[in-house]
Subunit: 225 residues, 2 copies
DNA sequence: TTTTAAAAGATAGTATTACTATCTAGCTAA
DNA sequence: TTAGCTAGATAGTAATACTATCTTTTAAAA
């Protein structure tokens, strides 16, 4: 049996739904490759169009600008990750085990999932690490947030915060700890690779150690005292 | 007695030392105001030149491009913060007290320091919160890092990691915890203001609570078990 | 089978950005 | 007195970030 996974995206993110046409899917697939390769600053719709074999104007029919496209692919990732979290923690009773699963899902390399043919999750994971925060670090966060553009990110954090409270209903900072876990899972990975002296894993460059650091951080904090 | 504070900057950051001329100091002062006001993406040398009353070409004599200028002002901030940390923890024996001081220095609003006339530290603090990570989240981090551009940031983290080890020499992740404190001091502040559901301080919008969260996080982790 | 409407391709054009180059004027320190 | 540095003025270019319009292809409804 073949299962296909569809993440429902906020309609305000695009002008024309890229999931519904061949060109749309190409835009997503190739933009992931190009942003991964060049970084978001050097990524342009012109280059993307050349890469695909279409025109700049063609891309603009789908996305207002490259920043909206960045939000599109990052929030797609958060939506997908939440699906992974829910799927992988299903039927697990112990919140400690659940939390460990979540930390590992966040911090360790993603394998490309065949359930989504036109999206390479492994590349996307790298994009989240290097470019993810640029989605919201702008002068127009507030307006973007009013349009609910960051909902999948906030939902994922809410799910994690819930598990934290399951473990210890008295813990005072479940949301902040959840966003700390998510951000640090990626920043520590970036630091490990590019600014290794900011971490304790510079030599081994082992993602698993990032996960162990986060486990230690989280469980020390939420342990009932 | 009047004391003037000078932060020694990496010479690779500029083409002409902005500290040494009137125009140079104006470039720093006005770029801080403009980046604060428009955000880094909408900030251009043209606007800066108009704001100062000079020409674009004049700015390019000091800085290669706007990204170098961003690194200049962010690393200035890290250098200045390290001075603040060393100054404020001087003569304190207890590493726990020192760590609390550091956390509060990082997380709470900075007051404009008269020791540096042409730099407004309060604005700079806001720039660090919203734009700081863009200094290193680029495709050219590695080359920039080879030129030692991020040394002040890494030095500050090293100082904090040292205090952590003073408190508990057995703690396994002093560097990662240090960079986590620094990053989260700013990200939690950003979230609190712009994406409040990612934190537990959305309603009060009180910076002190960010500091308390970080204290709880840090001391739970490094407590000897 | 024809009509019609949506999607995509082709082409052109604009304002702004991110620079580089050159020339001149003013000041200052030897 | 002049040599050298700093800054102002002006001009120009390639690339970026769009917008507009017109035509062709495709695919589904009448």
């Amino acid at each position: 049996m073949e299962v296909q996974l569809q993440i429902k995206m906020n309609e305000k993110l695009f002008l024309r739904n890229p999931e519904q046409t061949e060109l749309g899917k190409k835009i997503i697939r190739h933009s992931i490759q190009l942003i991964y390769k060049n970084g978001f600053e050097l990524f342009t719709f012109k280059k993307l169009a050349e890469d695909i074999g279409t025109t700049e104007a063609g891309i603009y029919r789908y996305f207002e600008n490259k920043h909206r496209l960045l939000i599109y692919i990052t929030t797609w990732y958060w939506g997908w990750l939440q699906y992974c979290v829910v799927f992988n923690t299903n039927n697990i009773k112990d919140p400690a085990v659940k939390l460990k699963k979540v930390i590992h899902l966040l911090a360790t390399t993603v394998v490309d999932d065949d359930k989504t043919i036109h999206i390479n999750e492994a590349l996307l994971h790298q994009i989240i690490i290097a470019e993810g925060s640029k989605a919201y670090l702008t002068k127009h966060v507030t307006e973007d947030n009013k349009e609910q553009l960051f909902k999948p990110y906030k939902d994922l954090c809410a799910v994690i915060a819930e598990i934290i409270l399951e473990y210890n209903p008295q813990y005072k900072y479940p949301r902040s700890l959840a966003s700390t876990i998510v951000e640090m899972a990626h920043f520590q990975n970036f630091f490990m690779t590019h600014l290794p002296s900011l971490t304790d894993f510079g030599k081994s460059k082992d993602e698993l150690k990032v996960a162990l650091f986060l486990e230690d951080l989280v469980f020390s904090s939420i342990r009932k005292k």
